[in-house]
C-alpha cells in the first residue's frame, strides 16, 4: 500500500485583532505548496486553537498576530500544547512582531517568526524541513 503524507497546517489568529489578510495569503500559499490548510478564522483563544489542532491532527500551527499581544498569547499556546501532550506540533508565528521580541518567543518554543516582507517560499521551505512527525 502506498502511503501518502500530506502536511496539515492550522492557521489561526489568536487575540482580538480583526485583520486577516496576511493569514489568508499564507494559507493560500501553503495550499499551493500542496499542504492541507485548516483556517480557523479570527479572534481565537489559545484554548480553541490547541483544541482544534488536536482534533485536526495537524503537523504545524501557524499563528498570526498584529495586535501586539504575541508575548502573552504565543507562549500560552505552547504551554497548552505541552499540557495536552501535543508538543510534537511545530509552531511558527508571523505578523507585526518587533525584532527585539523574537529571541524570547523562540525561547518559549516558537520554532520561527516570520515578519512582514518574508518571501513565502522561505516559509514553505521552513515548514517542509522542520515538521516533526
Amino acid at each position: 500500500m502506498q502511503e501518502t503524507k500530506t502536511i496539515r497546517v492550522l492557521i489561526a489568529k489568536p487575540g482580538l485583532d480583526g485583520h486577516d489578510r496576511g493569514a489568508k495569503v499564507i494559507a493560500r500559499a501553503l495550499r499551493d505548496a500542496g499542504m492541507e490548510v485548516i483556517y480557523t478564522g479570527l479572534r481565537q483563544t489559545p484554548e480553541q486553537i490547541v483544541e482544534a489542532a488536536i482534533q485536526e491532527d495537524v503537523d504545524v500551527i501557524g499563528l498570526s498576530i498584529l495586535s501586539g499581544a504575541h508575548n502573552v498569547l504565543f507562549p500560552r499556546v505552547i504551554e497548552l500544547l505541552r499540557e495536552k501532550g501535543a508538543d510534537d506540533i511545530l509552531v511558527v508565528g508571523g505578523g507585526v512582531i518587533p525584532h527585539d521580541d523574537i529571541p524570547y518567543l523562540k525561547e518559549c518554543g516558537i520554532a520561527e517568526i516570520f515578519t512582514p516582507g518574508t518571501p513565502i517560499s522561505q516559509i514553505v521551505e521552513f515548514i517542509k524541513n522542520n515538521v516533526k512527525k
Binding site: Q2, T6, V37, I38, Y39, G41, E56, D57
Partner: protein, 309 residues
C-alpha cells in the same frame, strides 16, 4: 495500549491520529479498524449537501448545537475540495463552527476531498466508523459544495439534507436528475432573501410531478442558519426521518446495502491492486501492443485474464 483501545477509552488524540492514518492509507489504520468494527453501527449519520455558499457549515454549526441541547454527542466531518493541481487544500469550514470547538461532546474533523469526485473523500467512510466507535450519537458529514452529480453522500448517510438557497436557477433546475433526487429533507437556507417562497414552491412542484410514491415525503424547511431561525424545525424533521427509517426496517435495509457496496468497493480496489502488482510487465507489454494496434483491448483483456484465473 494501541490506537483502537485508546479510542474505545475516549482518547480524542487517538481518534484524530487514526483519521490521519486512514487518509494516508497507512497499514496500521487497517489494523485499528479491524478491532473497532464490532463497536460501530450505533451512530446516526446525517449528510449535509448542497451548492457552494449555501450555508452548509453554518447550518451544521446550529444543528450540532440543537442536538447537543438534547444531551447527545456529535462528530462532524467537513469536507472541502483538494486542488487537483497541487494536492493542497484550504479547509475553512471550521470558521463557522468556532463556538463548538471547546465542547467536549463534539469532535470536528476537516478533510480534503483528495481526488474523489463524488463530493466526499474515500477516507470519510472509515472516519465515520472511527467516530462511531468513539461513541458519537450523531455523525454529520458536510460534503464539498456539490454541483449536480456529486451525490456519493447517499451511500454514506442515513438521512440526507439538501441545502438550497434562493436565486440559483429557474424551475427547470428543480426537475433535472441528480442532486434534487437525493434529498430526504430540503432546507431552504438564507430564506430571509427574496425568492425563498418561490424556491419552496418549485421544490413542491417538483415533488408533485414525480411519479414516485413517497412514503416519507421530503419536508421542506425554511432556515436562516446565521440567526438560527428554523433550525429547531429542521432538527425535528431529521428526528422524524430517523424514526421513520427505524420503524419500517428501512434503516436496517439501507445499512445492509451500504455494507455490501462498501465491501464490493474494497474488493475491487484490492483485486485491481493485486493484478497490477503481479502482472506489471505483462500489462505494459499488452498496453504497448494495443497502442501499436497489433492487438485490440478486448483480446488483450482475454489474454490477461486467462493467465490470472
Amino acid at each position: 495500549m494501541d490506537l483502537a483501545e485508546k479510542i474505545l477509552q475516549k482518547d480524542k488524540r487517538a481518534v484524530a491520529r487514526l483519521i490521519t492514518l486512514i487518509e494516508r492509507e497507512n497499514l496500521e489504520a487497517r489494523e485499528a479498524l479491524k478491532k473497532l468494527y464490532k463497536y460501530t453501527g450505533n451512530s446516526f449519520v446525517i449528510g449535509i449537501t448542497g451548492p457552494p455558499g449555501a450555508g452548509k457549515s453554518s447550518l451544521v454549526n446550529e444543528l450540532a448545537k440543537k442536538i447537543r441541547e438534547k444531551g447527545k454527542t456529535v462528530g462532524i466531518i467537513a469536507v472541502d475540495p483538494t486542488s487537483p493541481f497541487t494536492g493542497g487544500a484550504l479547509l475553512g469550514d471550521r470558521i463557522r463552527m468556532q463556538d463548538l470547538t471547546l465542547d467536549e461532546g463534539i469532535f470536528i474533523r476537516s478533510m480534503g476531498s483528495r481526488g474523489s469526485l463524488g463530493g466526499i473523500t474515500k477516507a470519510a467512510y472509515d472516519a465515520v466508523k472511527v467516530l462511531d466507535a468513539y461513541g458519537m450519537d450523531y455523525v454529520i458529514i458536510e460534503t464539498v459544495g456539490v454541483g449536480q452529480t456529486e451525490i456519493d453522500i447517499v451511500k454514506l448517510a442515513d438521512t440526507v439534507v439538501l441545502v438550497l438557497v434562493p436565486g440559483l436557477g429557474d424551475d427547470v433546475q428543480a426537475i433535472k436528475a441528480g442532486i434534487m433526487e437525493i434529498a430526504d429533507i430540503f432546507a431552504v437556507n438564507k430564506s430571509d432573501r427574496e425568492g425563498a417562497d418561490r424556491l419552496v414552491h418549485e421544490i413542491e412542484m417538483m415533488m408533485e410531478l414525480s411519479q414516485k410514491d413517497f412514503d416519507f415525503r421530503p419536508p421542506i424547511v425554511k432556515t436562516v442558519a446565521v440567526t438560527g431561525e428554523g433550525i429547531d424545525v429542521l432538527e425535528c424533521r431529521i428526528s422524524e426521518h430517523l424514526d421513520y427509517l427505524c420503524k419500517n426496517g428501512i434503516l436496517e435495509q439501507k445499512r445492509k446495502t451500504r455494507v455490501k457496496e462498501e465491501f464490493m468497493e474494497l474488493l475491487k480496489e484490492h483485486i485491481t491492486r493485486l493484478i497490477l502488482q503481479k502482472n506489471e510487465s505483462k500489462i505494459d507489454m499488452l498496453v504497448r501492443d494495443i497502442s501499436n494496434r497489433t492487438v485490440d483491448p478486448y483480446t488483450a483483456l482475454d489474454i490477461l485474464t486467462k493467465e490470472i484465473f
